[in-house]
């Protein structure tokens, strides 16, 4: 769709709308920071003066502080509301507009990121001042981090989106989203960095899409990966994104047909 101006206007105004409730979203963002913070303290304590799984206390602090920001930036909260739009028939309203409903969802996503970041970034900066992370930043790490982050967001967004679109057929498709969140918690580097997971779990984490939604960009930035590993990571990440996009397109066109067949 070429309606870029419409999309831009929508994003701008969704953001204005969100700023009306910023304190609510700040509280949400605070809630989402808590689990990684807990694991930060657990691992930092485990490392103590030495190392745990080969990582020092300072490295754990860096890893988790970056993870907090990456998690917020890639979290696709609209995945939870797409199903409601379909179930409650509000999708009809969006289908009347000469603009794909995907724009509406993307507008909410981007508006949300700006609102959340205005809270998460200062808080993370304060935590960094207090906890003193150890970060030796290379130019190429930062350069690779940005595309890895963007792809991570797109992957997490579209992966959740195609799951959410199952609501066209099943009333409670959001149970699958809850399952996805659990898998992300386990396999995307939240409970522990992927490198510290036991054998079989680590293999699964590297093959499945979830690591590439959060942990991969964090590992890229914190220098945990060799250039070869980064290259392989991009390939797997890109591959899963293609799968997610294909599933989204398929389910969207079938879903709208189904929706307009049964009535909203």
């Amino acid at each position: 769709m070429s309606n870029v101006r419409g999309g831009q206007a929508l994003i701008r105004h969704t953001w204005l709308s969100w700023m009306q409730h910023r304190s609510f979203f700040f509280l949400l963002a605070f809630g989402w920071m808590i689990p990684p913070l807990i694991y930060l303290f657990v691992w930092a304590t485990a490392a103590g003066g030495g190392t745990a799984g080969g990582m020092t206390r300072g490295e754990f602090v860096t890893y988790y502080l970056v993870l907090i920001v990456v998690n917020q930036l890639t979290y696709a909260q609209t995945n939870w509301t797409v199903g409601d739009l379909i179930r409650e028939g509000s999708m009809s309203r969006l289908l009347l507009l000469p603009l794909s409903p995907l724009y509406n969802t993307l507008a909410t996503e981007i508006a949300g990121k700006v609102v959340y970041m205005s809270f998460v970034l200062p808080v993370t900066a304060l935590l960094a001042l207090w906890l003193r992370p150890a970060l030796a930043l290379d130019g190429w790490q930062l350069l690779a981090f940005l595309p890895a982050l963007l792809l991570a967001w797109l992957l997490r967004f579209f992966w959740g989106y195609w799951l959410a679109l199952l609501a066209f057929w099943a009333t409670r498709a959001d149970a699958l989203l809850a399952l996805q969140d659990s898998l992300i918690f386990l396999l995307a580097g939240q409970v522990a960095p992927v490198a510290l997971l036991p054998g079989a779990l680590q293999v699964a984490a590297k093959a499945l899409p979830f690591r590439y939604m959060i942990a991969f960009p964090v590992e890229v930035l914190t220098g945990a990966l060799t250039p070869a590993e980064v290259g392989l990571g991009f390939a797997v990440q890109g591959g899963w994104l293609v799968v997610a996009l294909a599933l989204y397109r398929l389910l969207w066109s079938r879903g709208v047909q189904q929706y307009t067949a049964v009535g909203g």
Binding site: G6, R12, H13
Partner: protein, 330 residues
Amino acid sequence: MRDGKIVVRALSKTYRVPERAPGLGASLKSLVRKEYREVPAVRGLTFTIEPGEMVGFIGPNGAGKTTTLKMLAGLLHPGGGTAQVAGFTPWERSPAYLRRIAMVLGNKSQLMWDIPALDTFRVLGEMYGVPPAVQRETVAELTELLDLQGLLQRPVRNLSLGERMKCELVAALLHRPAVLFLDEPTLGLDVSMQRRLRRFIASYNRRSGATVILTSHYMADVAELCERVLLIHQGLLLYDGPLAALKAQLAPFKLIRVTTTGGLNGGQGLPATAHVVARENGKLTVRVPRGETAAVTATLLRTLPVVDLAVEDPPLEAVIDQVYQEGMSQ
């Protein structure tokens, strides 16, 4: 001014609804094998609406009015038949088509709740590709017509239902659609707000030349706005024509109400077709076939000490209710 012609041929739609008996056993059974029932909602509608016409869909709840409207707006795929609206097949949902229509649903809002309506108008204007100057002009014009001064800067959630409905209309008309679908636009509004919206819709239709289809349960809406009505009942088109003729066809009689100085002993000599509906406190109501109204009135005036006399049509609601209950006899 625009080609908002609507041509509908043998349009039909059947819903497939899951069904199960109440109780735990049936609930478990439906887990294994779901049973569906076919519910025909629209059964072979055929009609043509000329550009600029304003037409009312009437019929009881579940008659198929909204289903028809949704098919014409591209929100529903029909089960059979064809439709052309402004030269497009609605359910192909081409952006060019969606730019030419607008739909107002009395029970759903198009506006963003947390920001002023003016901001939503700007978003919609951009989405529909309306140049900013035209947007400003249209909003100013509609604001004036709908008396919205001072309300557009408030967050939509702080507006009353009536004020919000007016804003919904502005939002729908911003891109000057050639075809406007109004589904229960006056739902829940008070009488004076209903009248103002009606006046606005009528004048908009006149000035813009847009085709308007309206559904409403308030007969006053339809009576005031639509010269032509389509009566839909159980998915079938029972009547298509002027409202006045529908009334004459459905209720081929008039009511004569007389107030007398007291005695009601007169009134003899009325034709057998005249039927006394009520007789109390010096008031008499007689139902007569339309053709005999004059003769019966003369008889009543001659034989009773009449102080007041009124000849009325039966209320439209009562007539329509009769169809809803019994269907059309013709």
